[in-house]
Symmetry: C2
Subunit: 458 residues, 2 copies
């Protein structure tokens, strides 16, 4: 399916507002929001105002923060008040987190007292916590009613809830007692007590407000849930996290891991929305750190420079060994960081993972060494270069050790980070190469010193 | 929330089957499936048989393929028939794709004729297509009924549908006409014609059976949908893809990109479920290819070896330059590959992306060169090494050019791959380093030849 791109500005100029209204009719709110993005201030306001009342808050929630700001700047207090009260709390929070303080003040002033106190509470949850991505529009039921009463209540009060698929059973103190799906309510006898069909105890999956958003995503992933209830310290239900936000979290966390592994400072903005200066800033940090830390590898080589010149073929293998070490290490670290992120690898598996990597390293190292021996032999034959067979052995031996060390570090660093409750991708991603480079060189030159005869005094 | 681990084997031995039944009561099907994994053949069958009939197919769908095989081997034809007909088609297809041919034959023989022909049709869709991940249990409505009639029909026939959240409106020839949510049906007047409230035309989002699963995931992501209808060539509704499978696709595709960027052959198995031999095989391929291709960088260095020995400080910068070039290139390629995967970057953006990367490269290259100059000056001062300032200039100039070339290649390769309809991660991930290494060295030695005076005849 190709998506339709609508050029509202032209349509508005040539055919007027009624043509725009006809064009937008029946379109998805996502596509409408995207079409609005291209409009400037007054035009944007004009078109935003003709949107049907039941979708305008929804369209607003899909606008970019800048466009949201432009709309809010221009609408009347009365319109703003209606908009804020129509928005789902999570969308309102997302919006308020991105706009200047004076806009926040004005928005909060126009919100109803209930909405305002909810917004204030939700804005106070730490970034990346379950509380920061939850919404307050969930369908709560008391557990002492019947399925028929529940459906009546849903029909009466459910229209502005973010999801009806799952309803949440609470006691009068709002403690979370269980969950029941709308499907279950629909397919049982109207007289069935909700209490008897709700999932409770062990079957009840929930998060706490301060849980990391990644944990919430892992719960949804594991149990295939469309929403996760969030409780406070007293086990009271305070919100739910819906699957659309969970998918955003999954994408965000994966992108962050990609960035860290590519040695880029994580940014929450999309690629095309990050300016050249900001992009450069995000990239230069690790480039600088790694360049400076390459001083050590440089010093190691410099120390060995005269010896390198004396034995043919010794210098030529340096890039290959460093690359192989780096590649072997990043293979392990990436797979382990990803396994940790998806919850496939847990703390109890750490020893097993290390042992597995060691065996893989030995197998890969041996295979590489054998092929490398052949490669060097062919090269010697073709180039008639006077490389001694001892150099072959030194290179191959260094190769095996380098792969072993690289893979051990590559799997050890993320595991160590996880055990210390640090982000494995942050700790391990950019560091692996530098550490592995230095160690690979030391191994190589160590074996060279051990097995090759250098003239005395060098 | 900590998940509960149940040790059924011990419980079964010590307290018998009724204790197991009590233990599993109220648990999520996901947790039950996990608890079953640890059981051997006969015990597994014993416990599987005591599961309530309404959840046993669901539990089965969450078992690992090996355990599914062990259950199917041991149950009677009658039980198998009930199981197959109870499974959602997508879960049955997932299972059949993993088991030996003789099991497939037996399962198909026990399926009802309808289920069998559906299974045969669904099994024939290519891997990674929308058809291969869709299911047939969707709620179809004719568009000429009212909302009240629709709800009646859902109550009568909806119990075994995978999702009720969204219902699909079709004509008598099963052409997809529109979609309507259960929410919408619940909150409108019972007399409202379904046709008047369904999303249709531009608002109707769907995929085709042969669309790539990644495209389906992008639709769900963009439009925040819980299910996507899939139509055949004649626009007939043949299945739906639900959000749980879409999340699996998202995870799978991201993991594949991680693997390619870590230079590992993609595997559909989780880390802990891949054996040492298989893991080694997945990793050795690129390690070998890259090691052999490092021959070129080796030859470049070897050719220059004698000159390197003559000028102090020239060899020492090689690892730093290669690392910086590699890092700069993989920064660009990773961000672009991720942007393409998430649909943030499209073909119309390619020229802009290239121009952006060139500017970032110039900024980063300049900054790196300046810091590098300082770094080398400090190093000269500290080590009293007789490095000439010309070497500084050569290194810094090579640095700027290397970053520029690396970033251009790093963003050009994935874009080229995408334009050629190849997988950007496959084309770009592992190749960048080798290409960038060779070019960086050639630039460095080129500038050295140009600006440094070597004794004649070297």
């Amino acid at each position: 399916m190709e998506e339709t791109t609508v050029h509202l500005h032209q349509l508005l100029e040539n055919n007027g507002i009624s043509a725009v209204r006809a064009e937008l009719r029946g379109k998805s709110v996502v596509d409408i929001a995207q079409a609005l993005e291209e409009l400037e201030g007054e035009e944007l306001l004009l078109v935003f105002r003709i949107l049907p009342k039941d979708i305008s808050a929804d369209v607003f929630s899909y606008l970019e923060p800048e466009s949201q700001g432009r709309v809010v700047e221009r609408i009347t207090d009365r319109e703003l008040s209606a908009l804020v009260n129509d928005l789902f709390i999570d969308d309102a929070v997302d919006f308020l987190e991105e706009v200047p303080a004076n806009v926040v003040t004005r928005v909060l002033a126009q919100a109803s007292p209930d909405t305002r106190s909810l917004l204030n509470a939700f804005l106070s949850y730490p970034d990346s916590s379950a509380g920061s991505i939850m919404t307050a529009e969930f369908m709560a039921l008391h557990d002492d009613i019947t399925a028929g009463q529940a459906i009546d209540q849903i029909r009466r009060t459910g229209v502005d809830k973010e999801t009806l698929d799952t309803c949440y059973c609470i006691d009068p103190q709002r403690h979370l007692l269980g969950v029941v799906t709308l499907r279950r309510l629909l397919f049982c006898d109207a007289e069935t007590p909700v209490r008897s069909i709700m999932l409770q105890n062990d079957g009840l999956i929930y998060a706490r407000t301060l849980d990391d958003q990644e944990q919430v995503a892992q719960l949804a992933r594991r149990y295939d849930l469309l929403s996760i209830p969030v409780v406070d310290n007293e086990q009271r239900l305070v919100g739910i996290v819906t699957i659309d936000d969970i998918i955003d979290v999954m994408d965000e966390e994966a992108t962050e891991d990609f960035e860290l592994m590519a040695k880029v400072l994580p940014s929450e903005k999309e690629y095309l929305k990050t300016g050249v200066l900001e992009s450069s800033k995000n990239r230069i940090v690790w480039l600088l750190v790694l360049m400076i830390s390459a001083t050590f590898t440089g010093l190691i080589i410099e120390n060995f420079e005269h010896k390198l010149a004396l034995i043919t073929g010794l210098a030529a293998s340096i890039p290959m060994l460093m690359d192989t070490g780096g590649n072997a290490g990043s293979q392990s670290s990436t797979l382990i960081i990803r396994g940790l992120a998806l919850g496939e690898i847990r703390s109890k598996d750490f020893a097993w993972v290390l042992w597995k990597e060691v065996r893989i390293a030995l197998l890969c190292g041996l295979a590489l060494a054998v092929v490398n021996f052949g490669r060097m032999a062919v090269l010697r034959f073709v180039t008639h270069s006077p490389i001694s067979t001892t150099v072959f052995f030194v290179t191959c031996l260094a190769m095996i050790c380098a792969v072993l060390v690289s893979k051990t570090i590559g799997c050890g660093l993320p595991i160590l980070a996880k055990a210390l409750r640090l982000d494995p991708a942050l700790m391990a991603g950019p560091l692996i190469t530098t550490i592995v480079d230095a160690i690979t060189l030391m191994i190589y030159f160590g074996f060279a010193n051990l097995f090759l005869k250098f003239p005395a005094g060098v």
